[in-house]
């Protein structure tokens, strides 16, 4: 049987709530690509802001803004999705969610790029994470991190920094 790529990935819930969310820092070691899936139901949510960071310690110290790609729903249906849009380090995405009943946004981060950014700033590249902000609220918002390991293995390495 063909290898099932989806089964080689690491999936982890890294944040939930109804408002702004700071995800648990995700370890860079052992992984090379990261995708954050932001879901929720609109509850008078008018805007969602997204920033991506690299960290050099569990506590999230010396955080550096890093670049990322964002894909959003373009309508009320989760099937109607935008193209990937690149945000350079320091750029904050502000998504107008007024017309969206479903929140289904994806943030892709290249871990090698994040490591380069942190190292250039003189820090050790230990982890990455997202910080979202809201105008209004969502119901049962949830952020799941999907991580691609640097090599296939039966048991994934721990990804939560602790």
């Amino acid at each position: 049987m063909r290898p099932n790529l989806l089964m080689d990935l690491k999936y982890l819930t890294v944040g939930d709530g109804t408002g702004a969310i700071t995800t648990s820092p995700i370890a860079c070691v052992g992984f090379e690509q990261a995708l954050f899936i932001i879901t929720g139901t609109n509850n008078n949510l008018t805007a969602l802001t997204i920033n991506a960071y690299g960290y050099d310690a569990l506590a999230g110290t010396n955080k550096q803004k890093i670049g990322y790609w964002l894909r959003t729903c373009t309508d009320t249906l989760p099937d109607e999705q935008s193209a990937w849009v690149r945000y350079e380090a320091g750029s904050e995405a502000v998504v107008d969610t007024t017309a969206a009943t479903v929140v289904n946004y994806m943030v892709a981060i290249d871990i090698a790029e994040a490591q380069s950014k942190l190292q250039a700033a003189g820090y050790t590249a230990t982890g990455i994470g997202l910080i979202t902000g809201v105008a209004g609220a969502m119901t049962n918002s949830n952020i799941v991190a999907v991580l691609q390991p640097t090599r296939a293995k039966a048991t994934q390495e721990a990804a939560l920094l602790a």
């Binding site: 989806l6 819930t13 939930d16 929720g40 139901t41 894909r71 989760p78 990937w84 289904n104």
Partner: protein
């Protein structure tokens, strides 16, 4: 820059978080199989009222959007380890018609990952005389204990393209 394979995936929220999600059965899909070769259902579990919630998982191929002519198909499942979500179980294979009955669903943040091979599903459907149009996951409540759950579906396309095919059959 290296190609980012994640950016080729189709990811849709198919069930928003709902309370008592398994009461009466939680049906996810049908999900379109045309243009995709692998599917993964990510079930996120929230708090269970009594801490004893259990669910049974069934995977099906269907031949139309309405979900008719369902055929049971095999799947793999990996369960998160309760309050230690970073510690995963192993992938376990369940053949067509086999039901999983031992899932503990009583910890906030626990995940169930259900992987389906779409090519295998299509083979099952064709062998039964049907067109393999979609896949569907149904989770029933085997222990009556209300639990919050949501479902996200991740699909791997058969080839890379800028715009993915619709995943929701309609």
């Amino acid at each position: 820059m290296r190609p980012n394979e994640f950016m080729q995936l189709k990811i849709i929220q198919r069930k928003a978080p709902i309370a008592d999600a398994f009461n009466g059965g939680m049906t996810i899909g049908p999900i379109n199989t045309a243009g995709y070769d692998q599917a993964l259902f990510l079930i996120n579990l929230g708090a269970a009222t009594g801490g004893t919630a259990r669910g049974k998982v069934y995977a099906y191929g269907v031949d139309v959007a309405a979900g008719t002519n369902k055929q049971a198909v095999g799947y793999w499942i990996r369960c998160g380890a309760g309050d230690a979500p970073d510690t995963e179980g192993t992938w376990t294979r369940y053949e067509a018609g086999a039901e999983l009955t031992t899932l503990a669903a009583n910890n906030h943040g626990t995940q169930w990952l259900v992987a389906v091979d779409i090519v295998e599903v299509q083979n099952v459907m064709v062998a039964a005389g049907y067109v393999g149009t979609g896949i569907q996951l149904i989770i029933t409540e085997s222990v009556d204990d209300p639990i919050v759950a949501s479902a996200t579906v991740i699909l791997h396309p058969t080839f890379n393209k800028d715009t993915q095919a619709n995943a929701i059959l309609a």
